[in-house]
């Protein structure tokens, strides 16, 4: 799965689940300050990642990574990294 597809997936989550306007979403948008998300929304992002890509968010290692995410770009990179490391073939 290429970076563009991952980005589109992330945008779709933010539009559908968090009811954000697509125009407000860009790679450098900060999740908490700019887009108004909170820790519960991060849990839902993790759930959606699990549903879409089939990998599990492991306690401690991944949760720490999730907590360190600040922007949309950070989130896309984490997903890309997880796809690579879990060797899951995602289309």
């Amino acid at each position: 799965m290429n970076s563009k597809k991952i980005y589109d997936f992330v945008v779709s989550i933010f539009v559908e689940h968090f009811e954000l306007e697509e125009s407000k979403i860009h790679p450098d948008a900060t999740l908490f300050d700019e887009l108004g998300l909170d820790s519960l929304d991060m849990v839902d992002i993790a759930v959606e990642m699990q549903v879409r890509f089939g990998f599990k968010i492991k306690r401690i290692v991944d949760e720490e990574k999730l907590r360190s995410i600040r922007t949309i770009k950070d989130l896309c990179l984490l997903i890309e990294d997880k796809i690579k490391s879990s060797k899951i073939k995602v289309t």
Binding site: F18, D38, L40, D41, V43, D44, V47, V51
Partner: protein
């Protein structure tokens, strides 16, 4: 210890007649039935049900009225509760800055958490056992204090917060607990009531226990029939009712409109049966409320009965009322024949309807009561056309599975 007077300064209702107390009053005074066939709604589950009628909501609050931050943790149940509480606060004209103060608390009730959300969670779980819940808000929709917690968060109500869950006595107990909080000086204003969402699982509980109406599936508006000789069980309904209770000092300070005064409350449990309350336990509860109110039974002008039209339940209540009120000829009616049994919401909705009866001096009859059952002939039923009556005091009865009894006494406001 304080002994504050407790006034009712506002209310909000979502009933099977629609959103808003005025729609409920209109439906009741037009003597319309809110009971309909639910064959289509049951779909594939139809074969499992004997009772094919219910009083669902004909108008549902739009969840999008609630900001997403709060809505994501709310199932349909909490949205109902939110709307009733919001309407009650607006009706009472409680200033926004007051709502967020620590002197304002909330006691809200429901039979369970959101059954609809519980079903959704199980659908995900059974389909994919690797996932326990569909999303972060799932538990907040399912938990038994979903209404009290969610409404408090969404409306910033930061005082005491309790959740009551006692099935059909839920909102009467919630109002009673709120009354105690105010009477004892713990809070200045309390929002209280109950909500119930319609779900086949709830209907099935009454169906399995043979407490639901089966004989009027083709004639939905003719059931339930409280106190009637042809009654065959109750009909489940949905809704939410909320009251604003306020201590005298606070109500006078802000020149609030006062709709009534709660002067008595009592609750007990009958441990002889899980399914129904005995006459003796109801007598004890009625006497406890009269004692709390410090009035005599002959002062009561109207009794809004629990009377759900179950075969056994109506008998116990009839005999208990007859024993406590003897020859007082106090008019009695039940509103279940109009809008079904809204379970956890019923106490609050029926108190709101009784406040309207007290205001306009016209008692509502028991819809579908044609020929009183032999045990119910001991009561003085409100005639089917209604009854003009000046009401200074009324009683609201609520009884629930588990043997829970709750009685509230309301007095017409006098300075």
């Amino acid at each position: 210890m304080s002994n504050n007077r407790v006034f009712i300064t506002g209310y909000g209702a979502v009933s099977p007649y629609g959103i808003g107390a005025e729609k409920m009053f209109k439906g009741l005074y037009e003597n319309r039935s809110a009971v309909v066939s639910i064959k289509e709604e049951l779909g594939d589950n139809l074969q499992f049900f004997n009772c094919l009628v219910a009083a669902p909501l004909h108008e549902t609050p739009d969840p999008h009225e609630v900001p997403r931050k709060y809505r994501r943790n709310m199932g349909p149940l909490a949205v109902l509760a939110y709307r009733a509480c919001l309407d009650a606060l607006v009706h009472a004209a409680v200033p926004e800055e007051k709502i967020g103060s620590p002197e304002v608390g909330l006691v809200f009730s429901s039979s369970t958490g959101s059954v609809d959300s519980l079903e959704e969670a199980f659908r995900v779980y059974l389909n994919d056992t690797q996932r326990v819940l569909p999303h972060s808000g799932s538990f907040f929709k399912i938990m038994s204090h979903t209404c009290s917690a969610n409404v408090a968060h969404a409306l910033s109500i930061r005082g005491v917060n309790y959740s009551v869950s006692s099935a059909c006595a839920s909102s009467t107990q919630a109002i009673g607990i709120a009354y105690d909080q105010l009477k004892n000086g713990r809070q200045e204003i309390m929002i209280c009531g109950g909500a119930e969402e319609m779900h086949p699982l709830v209907v099935s509980v009454f169906d399995v226990l043979q407490a639901a109406s089966w004989n009027y599936n083709e004639k939905p508006t003719q059931t339930p029939r409280p106190f009637d000789s042809l009654r065959d069980g109750t009909v489940c309904g949905a809704g939410a009712g909320a009251l604003i209770l306020e201590i005298e000092e606070s109500a006078y300070r802000r020149k609030a409109q006062i709709f009534g005064e709660i002067i008595g409350y009592f609750s007990n449990i009958d441990t002889t049966s899980m399914a129904q309350s005995s006459k003796e336990s109801i007598v004890m509860c009625l006497q406890g409320a009269l004692s709390d109110a410090n009035i005599k039974s002959e002062q009561i002008d109207y009794i809004n009965a629990h009377a759900t039209a179950t075969i056994v339940g109506d008998i116990s209540e009839s005999l208990a009322i007859a024993e406590v009120f003897r020859d007082n000829n106090v008019p009695v009616s039940s509103l279940k024949g109009h809008m079904g049994h809204t379970l956890a919401a019923s106490g609050a909705l029926e108190i709101i309807a009784s406040l309207e009866m007290m205001r306009c001096g016209k008692l509502l009859p028991t819809r579908n009561l044609v020929t009183p059952a032999p045990e119910a002939t001991v009561l003085c039923h409100v005639p089917s056309s209604g009854q003009e009556k000046k009401v200074s005091y009324f009683i609201k009865n609520s009884f629930a599975f588990g043997g829970i009894n709750a009685v509230i006494i309301v007095k017409k406001y006098k300075k």
